[in-house]
Structure formats: C-alpha cells, structure tokens
C-alpha cells in the first residue's frame, strides 16, 4: 500500500509542479512510460491475486523503466534504435494485454 500511496503522491506532485524533462532524455520517455504501465498492470494483478508486495512492485517498476530506456539507448548507439523500441513495445504490450485479461477475469469473473 505504501508504494501505491507514494506513487500517487509523486504523480500528483508531478502534475502540480510540471517539471521539465532534460532534452537528452526525451527519446527514452515513450518506452519508459510503456514500461511503467507494464509494472502498474503487473502490480494491480498481483494485488487482485493477493500476493502484492511493495518492494517487488517498486523494484520491478524501477528496473522496467531503467532497462527499457537502456535498451533504447543501446539500440540508438548501434543504429537499431527503432527496431529495438518496437521489440520492447511488443513484449511489454503482450504482457500488459495478458495482465489486463487476468485483471478482467478477477473483476468480472469472466
């Protein structure tokens, strides 16, 4: 619960403060946001499964975002940035989809 409260507080602070993101980080933002979405859906599913854990949630959140950004960075350096971005989006997209399906089963029993 602590993690969720902290996250909500952070998001509200972000909306209120409107901090500017450094230009160098701009290319990694879309992938980082998709990775964060994946972690969020994973956390929600774990919560419904009754096995939610603050530490695991935050660790997966942080590592997801960092690794996603890192992959894009690496891809950019190697000249395959677009392809790697696509790969990351496909993998994370599938995970988001199946987690969302699981959440749906929990909520609507269907």
């Amino acid at each position: 619960m602590i993690a969720v409260i902290g996250l909500v507080v952070g998001v509200l602070a972000g909306l209120w403060l409107q901090p500017t993101v450094p230009v160098e980080l701009q290319p990694y933002l879309p992938i980082a946001v998709v990775a964060a979405l994946d972690a969020l859906f994973g956390g929600l599913r774990a919560m419904l499964d009754g096995i939610f854990d603050d530490r695991v949630f935050l660790t997966s959140f942080l590592s997801n975002v960092v690794v996603a950004a890192l992959i894009v960075f690496l891809g950019d350096q190697l000249g395959v940035g677009t392809q790697l971005s696509t790969a990351v989006v496909v993998v994370l997209g599938i995970r988001i989809f199946s987690n969302a399906a699981s959440i749906r089963r929990h909520l609507f029993k269907a």
Binding site: I2, A3, V4, I5, G6, L7, V8, V9, G10, V11, L12, A13, G14, L15, L17, Q18, P19, T20, V21, Q26, L29, P30, A32, V33, A36, G42, R45, A46, D49, G50, I51, F52, D53, D54, R55, V56, F57, L58, T59, S60, F61, L62, V65, V91, I94, R95, I96, S98, N99, S102
Partner: protein, 313 residues
C-alpha cells in the same frame, strides 16, 4: 547420449515458441510469487520504519518521473499548434495590410483621375477622353458595364490532401480562359476582383493561383466586360473554348458561364513603371490607333501571363 541413460527427454511440441510462451504465459513478475511464498513461510512480517520511508520516497520519485515523462510527451503538439496559430495570425495581419493598402491605392487613383479630369476637362475634351479610354484599357480605373461571367471551380473532392492536382483549377486554365476572353473582345477582365492590367501575371505558387501576387482560391470568378453574347460565341470558337470543355468533361472542373447585365470591375490602381518612360508626343499614337491596338494590348497580358506562369510552375 541421453538416450543411453534410460528415458529420452520429452520434446515439447512448441519448443520453438519458448520465448513467446515465456512472455505470454507468465506475464506476472515471478518476484510477487516468491515474496508471497516467503511471507507464508514466516519471513519478516514486521517492517522497520526506515525501509517504509525508503519505499515511500522511491515510489514518490518514480511517480514524479512518470508524470513528468507523460507531460513532456503530451507537450510537443501544443507547442506546434501555438506556432501554427502565431503564423496564421501573422498571415491574417499581412493580408489585412495588403487589403488596406490596396484600398488606399484605389482611393488615391480615383483622386488622381478626378484631378486629371479637372485639369484637362476645361481645355481639351479630346485629350481627356483619350486618357479615360486608355486608363480603362490599362486597367487602372474601375469600370462597369455588361459582360460575361465565367466561374471555374475545383472538382469536388472527398479529401483535398490526396486530390489529383489535375482536378483543380490551375494557373494555365485561367491563362487560357483570359486569353480567350481578350481574343473574344473583352474590354476589361478581373479574376476574383483582381483587375488584369498590361503587367498582370497569372501563375501558381504551390496550391494557390496568384494573380498579380494575390493568392486566390477556388471558385475563380472571371468577369469580362463586353458584349456577352458575342464574347460567349467567340470564346466557344477559340481554342480556349475547347480547353474549358475538356476541363469540364475530363477533369470534372465546374464551369459556369453566365451573361451579366451589370458587372463592376475594380481598378488596379496606378501602374508604377520603374524602367519604361513614355516617348515624346510625336511618337505617341493617336487615340484611335491606340484603340485599335487594344487587341495587341490584350495579347501582351496573355504572353506575360504565360511566361511568368511557366516560370512559376
């Protein structure tokens, strides 16, 4: 080697799909299950205060970062829209400036006309009349009279972005029509209220058709002062008539010809000549000769329009 030690390993049917299966069947981070197992096994249930604070801080920072990222991702379009609006406002402002200046030119030309008339009227009526007719031919003064109105409009399109450029009215179409009208005996012509003079050019810049540097858009209303019936008959007989018929039948361009009892064509204002100077009175042809040269005047417009049009496209 494995087969020698009893059971051979069972080959999974979809062995080549392990990566996809891994992604698809186990979308939840295994860490959750492990943590749950640890908890049921009787791990550390009680939490120390520093750790709670760390978690809270980390979560807050992550939330802040994600919010900032989302906001940053949503920003560019609004910036682009703002820039676009600024440009649109500038265009609007400049267009208004041009219109205001144009109106002022027309007003001042009118004054010049009256003053000229005043200066000449009492002494030389013949001279005054020749000045009058020449400024009509030159297109500098507003004229009124019966005539022919031809409206060309782009073929209807569902999506203007992907429309075939041939289905739009182009500079060459207007050039041909104007040439045809001059040849058919028009005395004054204006396109969408832009009076054509001896130095007028009809050309295209991008999607717009420029007449004397003023961008016009469909529908194009071409007003020609003259004997409407004769204009129409002569126009149909020339190559311009053929061209317009082709536009209508092949490209679906709207052509609407109507004879008007009363047309009002604005003057273009004073034509400023930077290089040309008039020769002495001895070389100036008489008013009658000049009147006869009206047709050549017209072909001047046509050829200049054709030339610049070719450059523009």
């Amino acid at each position: 080697m494995t087969s020698r030690h009893g059971q051979p390993p069972v080959r999974v049917v979809d062995a080549s799909m392990t990566l996809l299966n891994e992604v698809y069947r186990r979308p939840l981070d295994p860490g959750y299950a492990e943590a749950a197992a640890r908890r049921t096994a009787g791990g550390s249930v009680t939490r120390r205060a520093p750790r709670v604070v760390t978690l809270l801080l980390l979560a807050a920072v992550l939330g802040l970062a994600i919010a900032a990222a989302t906001l940053a991702l949503r920003q560019p379009p609004t910036a682009a829209i703002a820039a676009r609006q600024l440009l649109e406002k500038q265009i609007q402002q400049r267009t208004d400036d041009v219109a205001a200046t144009q109106a002022r030119i027309t007003r001042l030309s009118g004054q010049i006309q009256t003053l000229q008339g005043d200066a000449l009227g009492s002494t030389a009526t013949e001279l005054a009349r020749s000045v009058q007719s020449e400024s009509v031919a030159a297109g500098t003064v507003a004229v009124t009279g019966p005539g022919l109105r031809v409206v060309l409009s782009d073929a209807p399109a569902t999506d203007p972005e992907t429309q075939d450029p041939d289905a739009r009215v182009q500079d060459i179409d207007l050039q041909v029509l104007v040439n045809g009208l001059w040849a058919a005996g028009a005395e004054a012509i204006a396109i969408n209220g832009q009076r054509l003079t001896a130095t007028s050019a009809i050309r295209s810049a991008g999607d717009a058709v420029l007449v004397d540097m003023v961008a016009l858009s469909s529908p194009y209303t071409v007003d020609a002062v003259g004997n409407a019936g004769r204009l129409q008959a002569n126009l149909a007989r020339t190559a311009a008539g053929q061209h317009i018929a082709t536009l209508r039948t092949t490209y679906g361009i709207g052509v609407d010809t109507s004879s008007q009892r009363h047309l009002e064509l604005p003057g273009s204002g004073q034509v400023v000549l930077q290089y040309a100077t008039a020769l002495g009175p001895a070389a100036t042809p008489t008013a009658a000769a000049r009147r006869g040269a009206g047709a050549s005047d017209a072909s001047d417009v046509a050829s200049s329009a054709g030339r610049t049009g070719g450059d523009g496209t």
